[in-house]
Assembly symmetry: C2
Amino acid sequence: MSFDAVGKRIPRVEGPEKVTGAAQYVADLKLPGMLVGKVLRSPYPHARILRIDTSKAAGVPGVKAVITAEDTPKIRWGAFIKDLYPLAVGKVRYVGDEVAAVAATTEDAAREALGLIEVEYEPLPAILIPQDAVKEGAILIHDDIPGNLVLDKLIHRGDVDEGFRQADVVVEGNFKSPLQYHAWIEPIGSIARWSPTGKLLLYMNTQTLFMARQRIAYALGIGIGDVRIIQPHVGAGFGGKSCDDNNAIVCSLLAKRAGRPVKLINAREDEFLASRPRVPSNIFMRLGFTRDGHVIAKETDVLNDNGAYSAKAPATTRVTALRHDIMYRHVNVRTRVRLAYTNNIPTGAFRGFGNPAGHWAVESLMDMAAVELGIDPAELRLINGVERGDVTVHGNIVRSCALKECVRRAVDLSDWNRKKADKVPHRGIGLATMVHVSGRRHFGDFDGASAIVKVNEDGKVFIMSGEGDTGQGAFTVFCQIAAEELGVPVSDVSISAGDTDMTTFCQGNYASRLTYIGGNAVRRAAAACKRQILEQAAQMLMASPEALRIKDGKVYIEGSPEKFVTVGQAAWARLYRRGGEPIVGFGAFDPPSEMQDQDLVGNESGAYTFGCQIAEVEVDPETGKVDVVNFVAVNDAGQVINPTLAEGQQEGALGQGIGWSLTEGLVFEDGQPMNPNFHEYKLPVAQDMPRLKTDFVGDPEPTGPFGAKGLGEPGMVPTGPAIANAVFDAVGVRIDTLPLSAEKVYRALQAKAQRKRSRAKGG
Amino acid sequence: MSFDAVGKRIPRVEGPEKVTGAAQYVADLKLPGMLVGKVLRSPYPHARILRIDTSKAAGVPGVKAVITAEDTPKIRWGAFIKDLYPLAVGKVRYVGDEVAAVAATTEDAAREALGLIEVEYEPLPAILIPQDAVKEGAILIHDDIPGNLVLDKLIHRGDVDEGFRQADVVVEGNFKSPLQYHAWIEPIGSIARWSPTGKLLLYMNTQTLFMARQRIAYALGIGIGDVRIIQPHVGAGFGGKSCDDNNAIVCSLLAKRAGRPVKLINAREDEFLASRPRVPSNIFMRLGFTRDGHVIAKETDVLNDNGAYSAKAPATTRVTALRHDIMYRHVNVRTRVRLAYTNNIPTGAFRGFGNPAGHWAVESLMDMAAVELGIDPAELRLINGVERGDVTVHGNIVRSCALKECVRRAVDLSDWNRKKADKVPHRGIGLATMVHVSGRRHFGDFDGASAIVKVNEDGKVFIMSGEGDTGQGAFTVFCQIAAEELGVPVSDVSISAGDTDMTTFCQGNYASRLTYIGGNAVRRAAAACKRQILEQAAQMLMASPEALRIKDGKVYIEGSPEKFVTVGQAAWARLYRRGGEPIVGFGAFDPPSEMQDQDLVGNESGAYTFGCQIAEVEVDPETGKVDVVNFVAVNDAGQVINPTLAEGQQEGALGQGIGWSLTEGLVFEDGQPMNPNFHEYKLPVAQDMPRLKTDFVGDPEPTGPFGAKGLGEPGMVPTGPAIANAVFDAVGVRIDTLPLSAEKVYRALQAKAQRKRSRAKGG
């Protein structure tokens, strides 16, 4: 297909605002009379609150509100399980739990007041690992959740035991991955203002405006229509700004109490303590293969750490357990999936939504199996990979799929065969593949979006979308989609900020759904406008609407482009006439997916994406330090709408993937975070980035807008195993626990040398 | 008809914001880095600009921009005639003409800089009255407008000369009315901010957002889509905030030049000098009657003062000349209408849009005729008044009309017959009737509106309307209309601010069009939502949509209200389902009116309103001071949507009507305004207000929303002649020039006494 706007390297529409500093983020906004808010957090992982005395705090000059649970409606809320109070009631359950909050005219007064709130705690025994949480007789973190289990599910497809009996080669392992903080450039924050009639206006950097509206209204005990959320520019979300934490709710409660607007912006420490980082994962997995490399049995057992309250972890943990089953042609699958409360920070969504942890296990095992089977790892994926038209054991319908093309292209781009053949000491190359979704259905059997497009009387197009943009470029992609549908230059299209009052319902930024779902809604709204333009132009050109084409903003009879009316002329004529009206189109799209049933069967997404990554590493044998020197990432995201933005997604994702794989991970001792700051929590920096080749070999998705699928998350899904497989290729050690820190690799190398010495001695 | 929301005394939806001080007007808004703007105005009514030196001004610390015409695109713009530069080019044409402007970090710096701009003028002879402007050989105010005539038209229906030949009684007179300043509580103002990509954001207190967008874009030489206008709360418009003056354009030019946001708020003096006050009018009129009181000939000759630039005066002057012809069953009408440039302040739209001036003449003459004919003035209106179904000589189609009911009700409420019979010295009672429009078609053969209504997933309704509200209560009326259409409580409905990006095209607040036209658009959008609700509820209730009713937010099968689903449940179910979507409806309405043709024939409005006012006055014979002691106003506005707001419109209009009739009027000497301040420009205050009885006897308008018509302007259309007729009834003097100041009445009483003495002496 040939496109005019789609597939083009259009600069970001909001770029100039950002690079000139004109863009306003929530922290930049000022409302008249606005106060500064601050939150007092629990210093204990588990404790009873015996007494809170806020009187001294309230006496600090400039302090306008001090609130505790007693000042709140005490409603428990949450994305899937309603277990979280805005301010702790009776007990605190993790170090960071919100206990009280203040609003004051200055930051200093707020801080001083915070220090003067007296809280008397009775410390309780804490559960710090999920394995302890599920033990018989373990103390209960929430009285109403028996066994501390948020999720406990066993599913079985085919005959797994028989599969393993028939298997010629079986590989297995325990794979762990760490708690990763989103480390966005902009912390979570909000500004709340109540109108005299009780309507709450929130400026917040949420990535899911309408879901935030629903949850905040619920937690505050008010109606959805009583909340308006406006999204300013957002400095990234990655899943962690989807309103699972208490920031906006506490901010709203403070503003209500103070009777003035309140701004509550997380400090970095608030983020490390009380945002909703990536779920730390524990997976046992076993794969059985026939001699010729076909996988015929798979067993997975996941036990994840939910933390003290349940955000998105129940959903991400299901993904950890099952998503990867879509990638290969499995028949016999048995999966146990458990998620346990602990007295750790509540965990949630982070780019990949549990999928990187699952891939960490399966793609490590695939590599191990390749070694055992003597089959090239790339070849092993080609033997087992799904193809267009497949329906998986869990009911996933694969309408488009270029998994194998991704593998082949990655092999080419990485010079895989030559590098596998010409081994260089301490250098290795590793491959991993991935499957991901474009949207996922798990909120009330709806995963849709809607949009309004209007064409001004001068032909300029304006999109009103509630999806918002968190910096990934969704606005630009939507403008391109509308431009393509309408046949106008992208420069003639602009788009609104997200605003729950002024736009129509959208689920928001998660699950790589925006291009595919939000884009389809925009396309449909644009198509509705196009029909109106054609109807009008048809009268002007004395032709039937069906005979017309629009290109470069001109409407003409197909084949006769020299005689035309512009879109602007048609829009003007449609408005300024007897019975006239502006050109306005509404569009909605809910993908052809379905809710998983009780047995977790169901086509969770309308479109699946695939990819292959190949990492080339160099391991320092003296220190164990892993350097990723070359990296190839090939994705099947269907038709790519904007290659520059798509590459940007892969580049950013790779940074996060490398961090998760090599250096990151929040570490706790006795429930206390040991590295809640950027000094000790090691993010990769520019010098840690490899040379990257990225490419897209999309199979156009029939249900996608112009064939597009999602691509926000996939870029880090297979990164961990690709690097680990390369480390194994380099130095022959296989590490099952991310991150692959220098220390771990060093110890593994020492152990390997020790074994070698022992064997040498023994032999 | 029985209604649930319509016709109810619902408190204004934006009232709590306003009375608590939370409402933000444009002067309240602050943008980061915002500067203060100020304008340098011409001190001469007519002069050539020889030289402008801004160098000293630019050197004032804090000054960020000083601009003259040389810094502008020099594009002439205007509502009907493009004759106005944002900053004067070459010549100034009135005292107040914009010459230069500055933007500075402080008000003081801006003021200081203004004083340092050196302008060398060569004064030119000035034309100060329209009679001089149209004289043979008069100097030209605009080189390209020959004869200084903006408008010169002669129209003729029937045979007027024959009509006057057959007339038994002929009355005639010259009727003048003054230049009236809107005297709103909030002056004109704007804040302009340019984005790095060249998009202009304007916060401005305009009453016509989309027309302002079009004009400002034109004047700045940019696209319509490059301008976004947001309407904050507005402290009234009355026609004078419909973007006919340079405020927002100069503000935008300053912001562009400074590269920072600029706020430009008129001082009161700016308003008196350079807003667009009511056109001062000169009308000669003659009416011929048969002995039994039928009017059979009418001649009108209007010569109005346009001022130096042409805003809305061409349109209001046509109204002055012709609108009143709709009120009586005229056959023979001859009208000459002229509008001349002068070197006075440009004049424009003010409540009634030229219609009060026309009524001033015709309703004075009707009273004079009643005396001559010996027919009661009320009876004379009943003899001649139009009725439902009439089509006038100008093609006006009267679909609904309760003119005669208004007269009868006003007669009852005022105790007219008794008061006419029992004459009290120096007390008098006078009556006048009126006709007005609900919207008027004069912009590109379109007078429509559009709106989007959405129903949140909790059933709360939100209206996105671009009409805006200038304080008259349009938002409340729209909420009532949507509530009535949808069958939900008004408290479940809220509405957006006006915003040209986020709402769809509307013509805005003028010509009493909002309830009738904007209301119809809202109703249609709500009806579209209702269809979606019924469709969904039908599935839930297992019934056909046609069988359902909605009341109090509940949907049920007609006749079985006990079994229901709520609108919220239906909205939730429609969204959260496979293929779901939110409830969103678009509606547009363009009334069944037509543009007047070259001969000014055409049904200018979709619906006409009628009214009768009766004033009772007491005249102080010592001073001539007129006190209006009792007042009755009865209006036919069709079905009244909100009686409280309707009464408020009548009350406010009466204040302005009394001011125009008795005390107001901007006075000039040699082109210089003599009373440009509230000390010398006398507004009526609370103690000047009479006891008012107001009532509505609406004939439901078949094309109106629930039968409604407009009622914003009518309340002051017949006030002047009602009072003047009462003065005549009180003391026997007839004054033809408004205002009826104590001085004028005193002099007339003196002259009358002199005549009496002369007659007594002579006799």
